[in-house]
């Protein structure tokens, strides 16, 4: 079966991902619909990492020998690739972290300390009710620890940000607005540009969690009008077909330059005396210790791979699969989708409930048929609470997903209903 918008070479792309050939218990083929949780890795990413480990492994920057030069070059080339992937105005604005969570915490943690952007009593930080825990807890810690106040956008019944109170929320007291570009639970795509413009008008910093956006949407920071460009943007390697252990914080030089250091140690210094130290410029200032070298190299290969397939094409593919999935899912009796129903205005993660069966039990039965989905709160408890549910089942596709996998999901859901003797 073919759908309008699918990647033309889908069969070839699937061959790039060795895990997709795996069979599960009972010899069943793998139907991997948990890509919003973590994506699978193409051979080229794995091979690039192996080549680095087997032939070029050395510490970077500090090592002057040939292996050190090769390793440093590979690491810094990865920074160039990532900068290109998100259209960063400057390559030195790309900071490697261990994951998106660390990137977000880096910002929230350093804002507690003296500096031009320090957050203190009376200041406000604004987030939203649809954030991943990794974009909630850091701000709770910051505001609790500094005496600032945490506020948030609520959600409308159809899973959009409720912007009706935006003028009461974003005020001169607002120091930071941090929000997700694409929701990992509801799939909602948020109006980043509009909110950034509002926040910039009051002088607030804007932090965008692009963990779910980077895998699916073409991003071109340099092309954004300055007033609509976030100040900081985070995403994570393992969701963009890269390895674990690596994340990215992009930040404008102006902001990164005034944030105090986060982790102290090797590589982030200019000079160290026992009593006092001075710090290196960005990006090194925020990369203390031996960075995730082979992981950065793997991430470089990953974003190159996505670039070759084309982010526009991947985005279309996701939309096509998502539309097909929304349709298929809604054919299942008792199934309710949480979040927007228009595939052209949402990301590829679709959370749903099936009346009469708990998400765990759904996921378990699906798994027995080889269909891998996620069940639980997807690290978005407040968003679940907002919709009066405690947990949900989530399917999420990616560039390697085929329509027949959605068919397998729908069929397995029907089987689940019969297994639990619903109607």
């Amino acid at each position: 079966m073919t759908l309008e918008g699918l990647l033309p070479e889908l069969a070839v792309i699937r061959k790039d991902f060795p895990i997709l050939e795996r069979t599960l218990a009972g010899g069943l083929p793998l139907v991997y619909l948990d890509s919003a949780n973590t994506s699978q890795k193409p051979q080229v990413v794995i091979d690039t990492m192996v080549d680095h480990l087997e032939r070029h492994n050395a510490n970077i920057a500090r090592a002057m020998h040939q292996l050190g030069a090769e390793s440093t070059e590979a690491f810094e080339a990865a920074r160039d690739k990532v900068a290109a992937f998100i259209g960063a105005p400057e390559r030195d604005e790309v900071i490697f972290t261990k994951n998106a969570s660390e990137a977000l915490n880096l910002v929230a943690n350093t804002l507690a300390w003296p500096g031009d952007r320090q957050v203190g009593p009376g200041d406000e930080v604004v987030i939203t009710e649809m954030e991943h825990h990794s974009n909630i807890v850091p701000w709770q810690l910051l505001t609790q620890r500094t005496g600032a106040t945490l506020r948030w956008f609520g959600l409308t019944d159809d899973g959009q940000l409720d912007l009706s109170a935006i003028d009461e929320l974003i005020t001169e007291r607002t120091k930071v607005v941090s929000l997700t570009w694409v929701s990992n639970m509801l799939g909602t795509i948020n109006p980043i540009a509009e909110i950034t413009r509002k926040a910039h008008a009051v002088g607030a910093l804007v932090v965008v969690d692009a963990s779910q956006a980077a895998p699916q949407l073409p991003i071109d920071l340099a092309a954004m009008p300055a007033e609509e460009r976030p100040d900081l943007l985070a995403f994570t390697g393992h969701k963009v077909v890269g390895p674990t252990g690596i994340g990215v914080l992009w930040g404008s030089r102006a902001v990164l330059d005034v944030l105090p250091p986060f982790l102290g140690g090797g590589e982030m210094i200019e000079t160290v005396r026992m009593d006092v130290s001075t710090y290196a410029g960005i990006p090194h200032k925020f990369e203390a210790g031996t960075p995730p070298i082979v992981e950065a190299v793997g991430l470089g290969a990953a974003v190159d791979y996505l670039g070759h397939v084309g982010m526009e094409a991947i985005h279309r593919h996701e939309q096509a699969i998502t539309a097909y999935a929304l349709e298929g899912l809604q054919s299942v009796k008792g199934l309710t989708v949480l979040g927007p129903l228009d595939a052209t205005r949402r990301g590829g993660a679709i959370s749903f409930e099936v009346e009469g069966v708990h998400p765990h039990d759904i996921a378990q039965v699906l798994d027995s048929r080889g269909v891998a989905v996620r069940a639980g709160h997807h690290c978005a408890k407040p968003a679940h609470a907002r919709f009066g549910v405690q947990s949900s089942t989530r399917m999420s596709s990616y560039l390697y997903t085929e329509p027949r996998e959605i068919d397998a999901l729908v069929e397995a859901l029907e089987y689940t209903r019969s297994y639990f003797k619903l109607d």
Binding site: P359, H360, G376, H384
Partner: protein, 163 residues
């Protein structure tokens, strides 16, 4: 092949479990949380969000009542129901021994033969032990019970004795 998996699934979802799930025994909070001999705890399974609020009332060294409010999957609901059946009316020491037996079964990776004398309907959970991700579901209310009971008896408990 799908039979092989069908069987696996049936090992997990035994009739007894589904029955307890549909008709949980002892569900609902009873008594007064502040009464003497009573303790109430709230436990969460952080990865999936399943929750239980569980209240224990001990009288004269006997488990007088275990009442609970819980949201969660079939396994966690059914195990709360079985817990209620197994410990209410038993001496605290005997109930603790049953708890230990159930814990051992759950941590046995499917290699342990359950003792029906002790565990009664609880033997239906033998299959759960083969699904590591679900063991936590089965243990949620049991851990809450142990915690609450220890609070009444004043014994030490908590994370420390997990190891």
């Amino acid at each position: 092949m799908s039979t092989a998996n069908g069987q696996d699934l049936d090992a997990l979802y035994q009739e007894i479990i589904l029955d307890h799930y549909k008709n949980p025994h002892g569900k609902g909070l009873r008594g007064d949380a502040d009464a003497a001999g009573t303790a109430e705890v709230h436990h969460v399974n952080p990865t999936c969000g399943d929750e239980v609020t569980l209240r224990v009332h001990l009288a004269d060294g006997v488990v007088d009542d275990v009442s609970y409010d819980a949201v969660g999957c079939s396994i966690s609901q059914a195990s709360a129901s079985v817990l209620h059946d197994l410990v209410v009316g038993k001496g605290v020491d005997e109930a603790m021994a049953i708890h230990q037996e159930f814990l051992t079964l759950m941590q046995g990776k499917g290699a342990i033969e359950p003792d029906e004398e002790v565990l009664e309907d609880g033997i239906a959970f033998a299959g759960v032990a083969r699904f590591p991700a679900r063991v936590k579901c089965a243990l949620l209310s049991w851990m809450a019970w142990k915690d609450a009971t220890a609070r009444v008896t004043g014994a030490a408990t908590g994370e420390g004795d997990k190891a």
